[in-house]
């Protein structure tokens, strides 16, 4: 495995990490929105 291979592996790894962070961020925001709006509906009395 030469340097280029390692670069490739590292860049694909960092790409995956970026996607994971984006996914985690989006999921967290979505869950927070669901939680807040569900409480709004509850307080509203549906």
């Amino acid at each position: 495995m030469d340097d280029k291979d390692i670069d490739k592996v590292l860049s694909s790894l960092s790409q995956d990490i970026k996607k994971d962070r984006l996914w985690a961020f989006r999921t967290t925001i979505a869950l927070a929105i669901i939680a807040v709006l569900t409480v709004v509906l509850l307080v509203w009395g549906f």
Partner: protein, 209 residues
């Protein structure tokens, strides 16, 4: 107004996706169907079906793949939601009714997507059949989870924030501990051929486009 709030909840729930693998096939369990069944347990069907159609159509703008795929996804979700709501309207929203509605939701969803897969992507029927077990699995899973969340909201609404907090922590384990900085992200999955995090389980159906 309440319908719009519910539609926003459904759109947000659609952003929460966990990949379920079953045999050679795999599907996303999106929070959409779970939230739909929870709503069907708690709210009048007539309101839920309007919110579900709004959310399904609006989901076109919240996806990141090709437009044709977004439209097909939106159309299949609309058809599946209307079918599930129609079932609940006719036969009630007890657990059995919701489970049946879940089966109908996934059957309609799978059938309409299957038509698109075979005609547009030239997927063989054998490949399509590989996807079926995971779809059937979700058909059972989603209404039970939805029923559980709806039941919790009815009987112990104060526990709801705990549930959401648990989901937020549980769905992003790698980053809860490591904040995305470490290359060796924990030891959650140590057996070969498994992956470090949920979104990496998805090389083909990549929801980031």
């Amino acid at each position: 107004m309440g319908i719009l709030v519910l539609a926003i909840i459904l759109i947000a729930a659609d952003q929460v996706r966990v990949r379920v693998q079953f045999g050679r096939g795999a599907q996303f369990l999106t929070g959409f169907s779970v939230a739909l069944f929870a709503s069907l347990l708690l709210l009048p069907v007539q309101d839920v079906v309007i919110a579900a159609v709004i959310a399904s159509v609006m989901s076109v703008f919240f996806e990141s793949n090709a437009w044709i795929k977004r439209v097909v996804n939106a159309a299949s979700f609309t058809a599946a939601s209307v079918a599930a709501c129609g079932w609940v309207y006719l036969f009630g929203n007890d657990l059995a009714g919701l489970v049946a509605a879940g089966v109908i939701f996934e059957v309609v969803n799978f059938a309409s997507l299957g038509v698109a897969f075979v005609t547009k992507e030239h997927m063989t029927l054998g490949e399509l059949a590989d996807e079926w077990p995971s779809t059937a699995y979700l058909a059972i899973l989603a209404p039970f989870v939805g029923f559980g969340i709806g039941w919790l909201l009815l009987n112990a609404p104060l526990l709801f924030p705990l549930l959401m907090g648990g989901l937020i922590v549980g769905l992003r384990p790698g980053y809860f501990v490591f904040a995305g900085k470490s290359l060796l992200r924990g030891s959650w999955h140590t057996t070969p051929d498994t992956f470090q995090s949920l979104s990496k389980l998805s090389p083909i159906h990549n929801h980031f486009g």
